[in-house]
């Protein structure tokens, strides 16, 4: 049985034997994952369990010690130190949304979105800007196109962060707790946009503490514990009826924080 059962279709993301240590401390211990094209994988787990590190290994922001990552047709084996070209191809297939958006403060909203397509992908300006405007219109931020990130609310900033990722036409979207730095009343708009993207068929890996979002949107949930995928399955199972005691404790703590 492949880890992605009972879902079907070829995997867009395949991870095998991913390990990562920081000095003597092993943070990821042999992680295997598959994400079918068009599906959403939610990654949950307690603080320090290795979720961010896992995500950053997928696009080479961290270089794993061993293991393979394949996104679409690009496969990188980290047994040897990967070449810049290999990392570049991996990054070309994926885009990441950060917890703290990391928008470029000296660039306007529009420039943040068009920077990658123009400068890196060298696509024609007219086309890139039209597309960026369409994206902005879609999230209701078209009239903020010339604002600087510091002039936006946290929720707006994070939506621009998502648009910046979408504009690159990636095959895979990576999210690292995109709402956990936001005030509660700003979370909704961001989650709504992410829901829409899931419905449109974007392939996404989302590290999140929003269990409701994981339940509603994710096809698969991976519970990460001490650098390993301790439980993987559909949300109804992992979040609704966890097999492992650690998962059960985690879900209980999140649902009843007191």
């Amino acid at each position: 049985m492949s880890p992605t059962d009972p879902t079907s279709g070829p995997p867009l993301l395949t991870v095998r034997g991913l390990t990562k240590s920081f000095g003597p401390r092993q943070v990821l211990g042999s992680v295997d994952l598959d994400v079918v094209g068009g599906q959403v994988l939610a990654v949950v787990g307690s603080s320090g369990s290795g979720k961010t590190t896992l995500l950053r290994c997928l696009n080479g922001l961290e270089i794993p010690d061993a293991g393979t990552v394949q996104i679409a047709e690009v496969a990188v084996d980290f047994a040897r130190r990967p070449s810049r070209t290999a990392l570049g191809r991996l990054r070309d297939r994926s885009a990441m949304v950060f917890q703290h958006h990391n928008l470029f403060p000296h660039r306007t909203v529009l420039q943040n979105i068009t920077e990658g397509p123009l400068v890196v992908q060298r696509r024609p300006r007219a086309q890139v800007e039209a597309e960026a405007l369409a994206l902005l219109r879609r999230v209701g931020l078209a009239e903020r196109r010339d604002a600087y990130p510091s002039q936006l609310s946290g929720g707006e900033q994070q939506r621009v962060g998502i648009l910046r990722a979408l504009a690159l036409h990636p095959r895979l979207l990576l999210f690292d707790e995109p709402t956990s730095a936001l005030d509660p009343e700003l979370v909704g708009d961001v989650l709504t946009l992410m829901r829409d993207l899931a419905v449109e068929g974007w392939t996404m890996v989302v590290v999140t503490h929003e269990l409701q979002f994981a339940r509603d949107v994710a096809h698969q949930v991976a519970f990460v514990d001490q650098g390993r995928v301790a439980e993987l399955g559909p949300p109804s199972q992992v979040l609704g009826d966890p097999r492992h005691e650690r998962t059960r404790q985690f879900v209980r703590r999140l649902l009843h924080p007191l």
């Binding site: 990054r91 470029f104 403060p105 400068v119 890196v120 510091s150």
Partner: protein, 222 residues
């Protein structure tokens, strides 16, 4: 105290101002430009993972900051000829001042680059930028904003330090004042006049710094 010779004060203003326009200002501007090119290069060398490169950068900064500017100036102008390398006063001054600004500027630029959050590099990498693109398009523009105030200080200090060039025979503001003073024997008057002209130049520069900061500030939240 003898009465102020206003006539002399007025007549000497011409040569002194000419010394500023033909000497002090171009000397400072050219040296600063050269120094900044050096500074960025040395800052990048110091930040590089390459041991020899970063070591060389560190040594350079250490020597420049650890020796008096006047000595640096004399080494270039009076010292190098004994090695068979004779350089005219003007190029000597530009070389010495550029090297000096390069050393101080490198530390400012290095700190400014380090002050840009790591997430900016990562965001640039994630959208596919190379190291060079990330540096020139994302990191350096933000570092520039941070380094304007300290670099302005460096520039203003340089303007005043160019008076040392009078000691290697460059005809600039202060040397003009000295010449008139020697001729008229009105030392107090002429040196105060020179001081006043330096001060005015620095006032103009400070105003320019304010405007530049405002311009670069447009993206910072208020």
């Amino acid at each position: 105290m003898p009465p102020v010779d206003w006539d002399l004060a007025l007549r000497s203003l011409g040569p002194i101002a000419l010394g500023a326009v033909r000497g002090t200002v171009p000397l400072a501007v050219v040296s600063f430009a050269g120094g900044m090119l050096l500074a960025v290069g040395v800052a990048l060398a110091r930040l590089s993972r390459h041991r020899v490169l970063s070591g060389a950068g560190r040594a350079y900064v250490s020597v420049i900051r650890g020796t008096p500017l006047l000595v640096q100036l004399f080494v270039v102008f009076y010292g190098l000829p004994s090695l068979g390398l004779v350089i005219d006063p003007w190029p000597s001054a530009i070389i010495a001042f550029s090297l000096n600004v390069g050393g101080y500027g490198a530390e400012i630029v290095r700190a400014a680059i380090l002050s840009v959050p790591k997430g900016q590099w990562e965001a640039a990498h994630v959208i596919g930028m190379s190291h060079r693109q990330s540096l020139t398009r994302i990191v350096l523009p933000q570092a520039a904003r941070v380094s304007v105030p300290p670099l302005s200080n460096t520039f203003i200090a340089l303007v005043k330090d160019t008076s040392l060039a009078s000691l290697i025979l460059v005809t600039e503001l202060f040397r003009r004042a000295q010449q008139v003073a020697a001729f008229s024997q009105q030392f107090m008057l002429l040196y105060l006049e020179a001081a006043l002209v330096y001060w005015v130049i620095c006032l103009v520069l400070s105003a320019g710094q304010g405007r530049l900061e405002k311009r670069l500030d447009r993206y910072v939240a208020h």
